[in-house]
Symmetry: D4
Subunit: 227 residues, 8 copies
Amino acid sequence: MRPDPGRERRKGAPEVIFGETKETAQVIAMAQALLAGSGRAIISRMRSETKEALLDVFRDYTIRLREAARAMVISRPDFVRPDTGGHVGIITAGTSDVPVAEEAALVAEEMGCRVTCIYDVGVAGLHRLVGPLRDLLSNDVDAIVVAAGMDGALPSVVAGLVPVPVIGLPTSVGYGLGGKGMAALLSMLQTCAPGLAVVNIDNGVGAGITAALIANRVAQARKHPLR
Amino acid sequence: MRPDPGRERRKGAPEVIFGETKETAQVIAMAQALLAGSGRAIISRMRSETKEALLDVFRDYTIRLREAARAMVISRPDFVRPDTGGHVGIITAGTSDVPVAEEAALVAEEMGCRVTCIYDVGVAGLHRLVGPLRDLLSNDVDAIVVAAGMDGALPSVVAGLVPVPVIGLPTSVGYGLGGKGMAALLSMLQTCAPGLAVVNIDNGVGAGITAALIANRVAQARKHPLR
Amino acid sequence: MRPDPGRERRKGAPEVIFGETKETAQVIAMAQALLAGSGRAIISRMRSETKEALLDVFRDYTIRLREAARAMVISRPDFVRPDTGGHVGIITAGTSDVPVAEEAALVAEEMGCRVTCIYDVGVAGLHRLVGPLRDLLSNDVDAIVVAAGMDGALPSVVAGLVPVPVIGLPTSVGYGLGGKGMAALLSMLQTCAPGLAVVNIDNGVGAGITAALIANRVAQARKHPLR
Amino acid sequence: MRPDPGRERRKGAPEVIFGETKETAQVIAMAQALLAGSGRAIISRMRSETKEALLDVFRDYTIRLREAARAMVISRPDFVRPDTGGHVGIITAGTSDVPVAEEAALVAEEMGCRVTCIYDVGVAGLHRLVGPLRDLLSNDVDAIVVAAGMDGALPSVVAGLVPVPVIGLPTSVGYGLGGKGMAALLSMLQTCAPGLAVVNIDNGVGAGITAALIANRVAQARKHPLR
Amino acid sequence: MRPDPGRERRKGAPEVIFGETKETAQVIAMAQALLAGSGRAIISRMRSETKEALLDVFRDYTIRLREAARAMVISRPDFVRPDTGGHVGIITAGTSDVPVAEEAALVAEEMGCRVTCIYDVGVAGLHRLVGPLRDLLSNDVDAIVVAAGMDGALPSVVAGLVPVPVIGLPTSVGYGLGGKGMAALLSMLQTCAPGLAVVNIDNGVGAGITAALIANRVAQARKHPLR
Amino acid sequence: MRPDPGRERRKGAPEVIFGETKETAQVIAMAQALLAGSGRAIISRMRSETKEALLDVFRDYTIRLREAARAMVISRPDFVRPDTGGHVGIITAGTSDVPVAEEAALVAEEMGCRVTCIYDVGVAGLHRLVGPLRDLLSNDVDAIVVAAGMDGALPSVVAGLVPVPVIGLPTSVGYGLGGKGMAALLSMLQTCAPGLAVVNIDNGVGAGITAALIANRVAQARKHPLR
Amino acid sequence: MRPDPGRERRKGAPEVIFGETKETAQVIAMAQALLAGSGRAIISRMRSETKEALLDVFRDYTIRLREAARAMVISRPDFVRPDTGGHVGIITAGTSDVPVAEEAALVAEEMGCRVTCIYDVGVAGLHRLVGPLRDLLSNDVDAIVVAAGMDGALPSVVAGLVPVPVIGLPTSVGYGLGGKGMAALLSMLQTCAPGLAVVNIDNGVGAGITAALIANRVAQARKHPLR
Amino acid sequence: MRPDPGRERRKGAPEVIFGETKETAQVIAMAQALLAGSGRAIISRMRSETKEALLDVFRDYTIRLREAARAMVISRPDFVRPDTGGHVGIITAGTSDVPVAEEAALVAEEMGCRVTCIYDVGVAGLHRLVGPLRDLLSNDVDAIVVAAGMDGALPSVVAGLVPVPVIGLPTSVGYGLGGKGMAALLSMLQTCAPGLAVVNIDNGVGAGITAALIANRVAQARKHPLR
C-alpha cells in the first residue's frame, strides 16, 4: 500500500491499515507515511508483537487503543479529530460479534461521528432491544450498523423497526453448514426488511465507513441547510 | 415404489405419493395399491392432468382435496381417519410459504391430529404473532411447524418463545445468493434458539409427519398415563 | 402478504408487490389492500397478463408505468406523491443492467426523491463516467446506486471516486463460472473502495429504498437544521 | 452472552456455555451469572485450561464432569436436578461420533430425562442394532437422537424402523468431497424415512434439547393426563 | 464424435451414442459409422423424434428397444452379440432410479453379460433385499451395480454385505439441499463399506461398462484358467 | 469401532484402522481386538508417536512397515497372509500421489494380490507410460488403480488404453480453485473413457480393496474354472 | 451497449454483439452503430428470428454467416477485412465443442488471422492429434485455442507438447457433478502443463481475441523486425 | 517428479520445483537432476530450512535469490541464461500481490525476457497506472501479467486499455465470501475486456511462463522476420 494522501480528502474516509496479514516493519512504514500525510494512522487487527513495536516507535505521538478490535489510532500531537455531529448506532447480536463491531465504532468515531453502542442483544432477547432502540431514535441516530453471526437475523429485525438506513455486518461466528458467517450473510441478503444493505463478513471497517458517510452527510446538511 | 403395507402400522405414518415427478398411470397404480392395503392414498403435488384422472378413476371413493398443496386424499368408504387428540400448530412467514405448509397440515390431519394454521406472519410483523401463539399454547399445542423462505428467521423467533418442539420448514422462496430456500435452511441450522430441528427445503410432508409423531405420542400418553 | 398499513408510516418506505411469482388475482387483492391503506400500490416484475388485468381493474385510478422494470404504480386520485428534496443517482455498467436499475429508480421516486440516471457506463469506458459523475456531485446527490453484472467492477470504481454512500446492486448478468451475478456480488463484497454496501443480486427495490432512506434523511436535515 | 434468567423457565431448556471459542474469564463470569440465576451452569467443549480454572474457582459447588464431551455441570449445593420421567435414546454410528452424542446425552439428562446410549452401531453392522432398538422401544423411549458422520446413513435406517420421532445429528467426521459432516447432513435431509428431523453438524446440544423437549412433553402428559 | 473402430476391440467396450444433446441427423450419421465398423450401434436417451427417425432409417436392421432407458440397439443382420458368461447384478433403491439402471443393464448385456435386475428395494425395505441378494450370490454374480438417488444409502448397505465389487450409481433424484443426486453421490464417496467405487450422477452407461468389464474378465478366467 | 470378526470372512476384505484421528490408546485397543480375531491388524496414517508405541507394544509380533503411507501391518506369528494369485497395478501421476497409492498397494497385498507399482508418470510424460503399461497387460493385470491430483487426467488416459477395470484415486494435491483434489475428482467423474470408476479423494484404502476384490475374483475363477 | 468507436483502434479487437440475451431491435441498433463506426458488425449466438431480421435489414451489405456458431458478420461494401499474417490454430476435443470453437475461429479471422481448425480429437484418440499438431507447428502457428468440455483434459495435453501459447476454452458440455463445463474449467486451472491460460466456460469470443492478439503481435514483428 | 530433460527443449519453458510441499531432501535431489540436465534448477516457495540447505549444498554453483517469492535459481558455472529480447510487463494491484508477481517475474527472466515490474497500483489509484502503462507500451512490451486479489478488477482495466495480451493472475488475498482469491478469479473470468486470459489463484509460475512464451515468440519473429 502506497499511501494516497488525496483519498482521505476526496472520500472523507481515512485509510485503515489491516494489520493481520502484514509484517511489523510494513505496518510501521505505512503508519509513518499516513502520519506524514494526514497526521493520523489507524491500524486494525494488529498482531500482538506489532502492537508492542508501535507503542515503542510512536511513543511521542498520541496513541488511542481499542483492545477488543486489536486496533490503534496514532496521531500527531497537532492532529485534531473532526467532530461532525453525525450520530451512528452500533448493535451486536452476541458477545462474539463485539470485536468486529468495535472496528466499525472506531472508524466512525475517527470520521467525526458520535457513536452509541448496544451490545449483546440476541433475537432470543428482543425485549432487550426495544428500549435502547427507542433511545437511539429519539437521539437522532443517522445510521445503524448491526453485527450478527450465526443465523444473522438481528439486522432484519432492526431494519423492520427503524426509519434510518441499516448496514448489516455479518460476523464469522457459527459452525457446521452455513458457519463462519455464511448463513448470516445470506440471511441479510435475503431480508424482507426495507433499507438493509450489507458488507462482507467481518468487514467492520467498511460498515463503519459507510455508516459514517451517511451520518456525516446528514450532519453537514443540518449545518448548511441552504446548500 | 412398491407399497409397503407394514410401514404405516410400524411407523404410525402413512406413505405419501409425490405426484410431481410421476406419470398419471404410475400414480393411479400406487394409489390402488395403497387403497387395497391401508384403505387410503395420499397424493401430493399432483400435476393437473393427474388430478383430473384421479377424480375420474376413483369417483366411487371418498375424495378430499387440498388445492393449495395440490394434494388429494382418496379413501375407501369404510376407511375411518384416526382421531388421536394430538394438536399440531402450523405457522408461515409469508403467503408464498402456504402451499408447502398445507402439505404439512394435510399429513398431520391424516395422522389424526387437530391442526391449527396461522399464515402470513413475517418477522417484520412480529406483533401479529404474539396473540395467535398465546392461543396455540393455551390450547395445548404439542408441536409447531414453522415454514419460511427468504431469510428463514421466523422459526428461530418462534422456537425462542415457546416451550414445545419446533420443526423448521424452509421453503424455496427467495432469489439471488441464498435463494431457493438455501438461506432459509442455513439460518435454521445456525439458530441460537433451543429446540429447533429442521427438514429439507419444501419437505412439507416430512415436517408434518415429524410434528404429528410428536403430537400423537403426547396424546397417547394423555390417554394411557399409566403405561 | 397481508398489507401492513403501519409499516409505510413507521419505515418511510412503501411495500412493493413482487409480481413475478404471484397470480394475477393475488396481485389485485394486494393492490386493493394497499390502495385502501396508503392510497398507492407499487407492483414490480409484473407478468404481462397481470399488467393487462391491472390496467383494466384499476382504470379509474392514476396509473404510472415503467416498462423496462415491468413495474406499475397505481394511486388513488387524491394521493399526493411526496417530494422530499432528496437526490439519488443511479448508474449502470451496461444496458442489460437497466431493468433492475429502473426498479431502484421507480422506488426512490415514489419515496419522494429526485432521481438522476446514468446508464451504460462500463469499466471499459471510464472516460464516459467522469463528466456525469461530476454533474451528479455538483447537484448535491445524496446517495448513488450502481448496478453491474459480469465482473461487477463499476461500483468499486465509483465508490473510490465520490464522497457519498454507494449502494452496489449486482445484476444477474454473466455466464459460466461466476455467472448470474455471482462474480458481481463477490467483487462488490471484496471491494477495497470505502463506503460501498451491497444488496442481493437483482434486488433493485432494496437498493432504491436504501438510497432513498439516506437521501430523505439528508433532505430532512436540510429542511429542519435545528433539530 | 448476558444470561437470560427467564429463558430457562420460559423454554424448559437450560442455556449452555459453548467453551471452545471463549476465554476462561468469560466462561467463569457467565457461569457465575447462571449459578446466581437458575443455580446451575452447563459448559460444553471446554478448553483444558478452562476446565482446570473452573474446578478451582467452583470448588465449593457440586461438579459433574463428562470427559468425552469436554463438558461440565456446576450446581449450587441446593440445586435439585429435575426428574421428568421422559426417556431419550442416543445412538451413534461410530466411535468418532461419541463426543457429540455425549453432549446431547448430558443436556437431556440435565433437562430431567432418563438417557439410554447405544454407541458404535454402524450401517455395516445393522445386526448389532436390532436388539438394543427393541429394548429401547419396550422401555417406552420418547425420542431418539442418532449421531453419524461419513455417509450419515444410520438415522434414516433408525427412522425407518421406529414409531418415535428421530433427531438426526450429523458429525464432522469424514474426508474429501462431502467430508466434515457435509455428506452426513445432506443424506439426512434427503432421507426417505418418515419422521426424521435434523440439527446442524456437531450440534449435540441442540439435538439433546429437542429430544428432551419431546420426551418431557410426553412425560408431562403421562403425569397430567386430564389436562 | 468420429467413430473409433479400434476402440471397441482395444477396450472390450462399445461406444454409446448419447442422444439427449444431439440432433437426429447427427445420431443417424454416427449410427451408420458404427454399423459400418463394428456392426452395431447403441443409442441412449433418444429424443422421441430421433427414435421415430431411427426406426424408419434402419428398418432393415435388427432393432432392440429398451423403453425405460430411451435406448435402442441397431445391429446388422449378421452381427452376433457376444455371450461371455459374465454375470452382472443391477439393483435400484426406487422406481425413479430404474431408467438409469436400465442403461447399465443394456450396456452390460451388449457386452455379453447375463444381467439380473432387482428393482425398487429401498433402505426402508431392507428385508426385501436379503432374499434376492442371496440368490444373486448363489448364482455367481461377478459385479453389482446399485443405483440410488435421494440419500444414496443402498450401495453402502449392499457393499457391506457382499464379497463382490459394487459400483455405486447415483441418480438425479432428490430435491432441496443435496438434491439432483448430490447427496447420493457424496454418501457413496463417504461410505465406510469396503469395495464400493462410484461413477457420476446418472452415468448408467459408465456403471454398466465397468461392471461388465469386471464380469467379463472373471468369465474369461473361468474359460481359460491356465492363462 | 468395535471389531467385527465376521466382516473379513464375509467381505474378503480386512478392516483398516485409520490412525490419523485416533489416540494411540484407541489404536492399540483396536489392534489387539483385530489380532485376537483375524490374527492381523492394519493401521494407516499413523501419527509418529503412535508408531513408536505400536512398535513397542507389539514387539513380539511380526511387523511390516510401509513408511510412505505411514502404515503398519501387525500379525500374529502364526498368521499366514493369503496368496490369491490376483494381480493389481498401481500407477501415480506424480511423486506427491505416492503416499496415497502406497495405501492402496499395501491393502491389495494384504488381501493376497501381487502388486505392481508404476510411479510418477504424468500426462506431460505419456511416453513414459506406454512401456510399463504394456508390461502390466502382458502380465495379466486384473485391475489398475490410478492415483492423480491436480487436473486428474491420468486415470482417463489409462482407462482409454487398457481392457481392464480402472479405479480412479484422486489425491488432495493442487491449489487454488479446484485444489485439494476437487478438480481431480470431478475430472474423473466427467471422463469419456469407458470403465473408470472412482473413490473419494485420498481414499487409498478403498481403491486398494476394490481393485483387490476384482483381482481376487478373477484369480478364483482361474483356480476354480468349473464353478 | 453504446458502441465505442475508439476501442477497436485502441485494442486491435472488434466489439462482438452477444445476440442470445438481446432483442432483435437492440441487435439491429447496435449493428447500425458499429457499421457507422468501424464499417463492420459481428453478432454471435443470434436467435433465429434475429438472424432473419438481420438478413432482411442489412440486405445491401456484405453478409458472412457461420451457422455452427450462430454468428454473422455484416460489413459495409467498402470494408476491407485486415490480413495480418498471424496464424491461429483451433482444436476441439469433441463435436459438441465445435459451436464455441467456431466463435473463436470467426473472431480470429475477423481480426485478420489465418485460422486452422482441427475438430473432434478426444483424449481417447490422442493418436489422431499428433499428425495435425505437427502440421500446425511446421506452418508456424502462433497461438492455439483448445476447446473441451467433460473432463477438459485436452488443453493440458496440447500445452505439454507444443512450444506456443495455448488458450484453454472450457465448454458447457458434461452432466452430474462437475457438469456444464465446471470440471473442464477446473482441470485447466489445475494443469501441470506449462503455458496454458484459460477463459471462462463457452467464452469462444474471448479465446479467439486473445489468440489473435498474440498472433497479430508476432506477425507484426515479422513485418517490422527493426522496431 | 522425475526430471524430463526433453521438456525444456520441447516447450521452451523450464521445470520449476514447487518447494512448499516438498521435503528438503526431495528438493535437493530434483535440483541435482535438473542441474545435470539443463544446467539450471529453479525452486519456488522454499521453506526456510530448505533454503539454508540449498545454499550449503550448492555453494559451488551460481545462486540467485528472489526473497519475496521465496525463490532461488541455481546454475552451473557454465550455464548461460538466454537473452531472447522479449519484454514482459508485470503489474500488481497491491503489496500483498507482490510475492506471487515476483514468481512470474523470475520465471520470465529465466526464460530470457526483459521484465518490467509496476507494483501497487490499485483500482482506487488508476491515475497511478496511466503513466507507467504508457511507458510499457512505448517500450514495446509483448505481454502483461496483472496480479490482483480482493475484487480482482485491475486486470480487466488494463486489458481494456492496452493492445497486447494480458494474463490475469488472481492472488489469494481477501476474506469472507469470495475471499482467498475466489472473487478475483471469478471477476477475471467474467471480464468484458477483450484479450484477457487467466491462470489459477497464486499460479505465478504459470502466468510467467505464458507471458514469456508470447514474448519470446514475438522476439523470435523480430529476429527471423523471413521465416
